[in-house]
Symmetry: C2
């Protein structure tokens, strides 16, 4: 039900995904009548791998956490997460209110052993052609060193599972590469990570700068949710700006239009490689269950990527692989 566009985006994306992926089954959670109408519109009302589960309420983007969590007990978000808890679904995908999604997920699913604060982790494209995993992207605006330390551990476990890399490299986002740079929180986090590196638990590369995210210097970039959210949104904004300049200039004359026509295969590849839609679908990390957050403004194509991300996480059994990995990595005094 969520996101800026609601069902006109989420339903067609769901239909397209199940048609593309014969092993996928989706349960559409929300206002039954409206879901039914939207399915009908796309002639998919009787799709064998699409079912509907009615939920009478919807968490809005403006709902306070308190309202989402305590009052709307039959919200689509809550019911969908409960499906994961009850093992009737293997993952939950939502484009709704991020704060509410995190709060309800924590409340219903609980955090993994040793995790104090779940984090939001997403991937960004880099110049090496691979993904850079970045966390936290907004769940925790104020972080202590041990929180950032846990993010590094969770990120490491996720990348090990998703990318099949034994010891993914971890970079700590900072204003410079040198140890003396940065805030006290970052300096103390670096000390914790250096200790883990020395004992062979984690592969800590050191401090990285903003530019390293897109260079692909490390597999994982760790930061607090304030910096992460702002950096991510600034990058998305810049990507949109690029695209608008590219489009406007190529349409500016007959010559450039002709040129664009000739180079259209290349332009298509450029657009595909730089398309932020492909990187939609952030994982809520550190929970006892898989929950994925789509960008609120996602279009159909983009929302389908978020579903695919969740599907792949199930396929690669990321949940138990992370849990196993975490057990080995978490400091024993940090057990909750």
């Amino acid at each position: 039900m969520g996101g800026d566009h609601g069902l006109p985006v989420t339903i067609p994306a769901a239909i397209s995904f199940v048609n593309r992926e014969p092993d996928a089954e989706l349960i559409l959670v929300g206002l039954e009548d409206r879901i039914r109408a939207e399915l009908q519109k796309h002639k998919a009302l009787n799709h064998p791998r699409l079912s509907i589960l009615h939920a009478s309420e919807v968490v809005t983007m403006d709902d306070a956490l308190e309202v989402a969590l305590r009052r709307k007990k039959d919200s689509s978000m809550r019911v969908a997460i409960q499906l994961v808890k009850d093992e009737k679904a293997r993952a939950c995908v939502s484009a709704g209110n991020t704060g509410a999604l995190m709060a309800i997920s924590r409340y219903v699913l609980k955090t993994m052993s040793g995790v104090e604060r779940p984090a939001i982790c997403s991937i960004l494209p880099n110049q090496k052609g691979g993904p850079t995993y970045m966390l936290d992207l907004g769940a925790n605006v104020d972080c202590e060193p041990h929180h950032l330390h846990q993010f590094a551990i969770m990120g490491s476990a996720l990348v090990a599972a998703m990318e099949d890399v034994a010891k993914p490299t971890i970079g700590l986002l900072n204003v410079g590469a040198e140890d003396i740079k940065g805030t006290e929180v970052v300096k103390q986090t670096a000390e914790l990570l250096r200790a883990d590196h020395a004992s062979g638990l984690l592969n800590f590369y050191g401090n990285v700068e903003g530019s390293d995210i897109f260079k692909g210097t490390t597999d994982i970039v760790v930061c607090d949710g304030f910096v992460g959210n702002i950096t991510l949104k600034a990058s998305e904004g810049l990507a949109r700006f690029f695209k608008s300049v590219l489009t406007a200039e190529l349409k500016s004359s007959v010559f450039s239009l002709l040129g664009a026509l000739l180079a259209r295969a290349a332009l298509k590849r450029i657009s595909r490689r730089l398309n932020p839609s492909r990187y939609n679908g952030a994982s809520l990390l550190g929970l006892r269950g898989l929950v994925f957050k789509s960008h609120g403004g996602a279009d159909i194509y983009s929302y389908e990527w978020a579903i695919k991300r969740a599907f792949d996480a199930v396929k690669y059994d990321v949940m138990s692989r992370i849990a196993n990995k975490m057990q080995g990595l978490m400091p024993h005094d940090g057990q909750s």
Copy 2:
């Protein structure tokens, strides 16, 4: 002498700039023999508007602040800033160590009345076609609300002077637009800014998100130096990534090459509009004198933009306009 490339970048940029700008006079500060040799190479040894001032030492990128400030008293950086102090130069431009440039500038020039911490302010392009001024970009990694408040005042004074806007709009960089979002520091800063807005001192728009920087939602974006530095460098990294994808894909086939040839005017305009070089030259704001910092990695073209930025600031009498503006804006209990 500074930057990643030193004289092979700074000297040709200086020559190009004085040739383009008949009112400009530049004093080249540093190791005389090497400057002389570089000028000779470009047949500009006897240029009537280029002079050399010898300084026997050079601050390196690795020098600790202590070394730059206390030991290297005859560094090119120190000597150049002293020229501004002595009113023998109207502005100083450097591509050197940012921390050292700020520390020496503070020590030699002192801060303006009411300014506790100078900030680094630069411009970024936005979709509206204008510049977005952003500060702080790295001088202050840990900030209190009253520091961010001062940055807003300084930024407002700078934009009023540079862009001739009476009441430039100010956005506070945050993880969401709503008042309840963000860290305690940001929330308290918003309160200070709302009070200034109510009394008509500043034009506070409210919270802005990362994407608003490139949308051009506000004339000024205020943040601490940690977030600002990381966001700026991430954006620069993404711009480089974008350029490399564009170049690689357009060269990938005969058709796309032909297309690129036909659309070359458009591609040139794209490259020009997105060229970060045009936005080189950050001002060190809040000092009793004009100091501009070029990106360390700047090429000749880019370094010339930093010189131009300093030249324009002198031409528009930014220094006294800011000082006047600041007197009206600074809270009287904040006087130092």
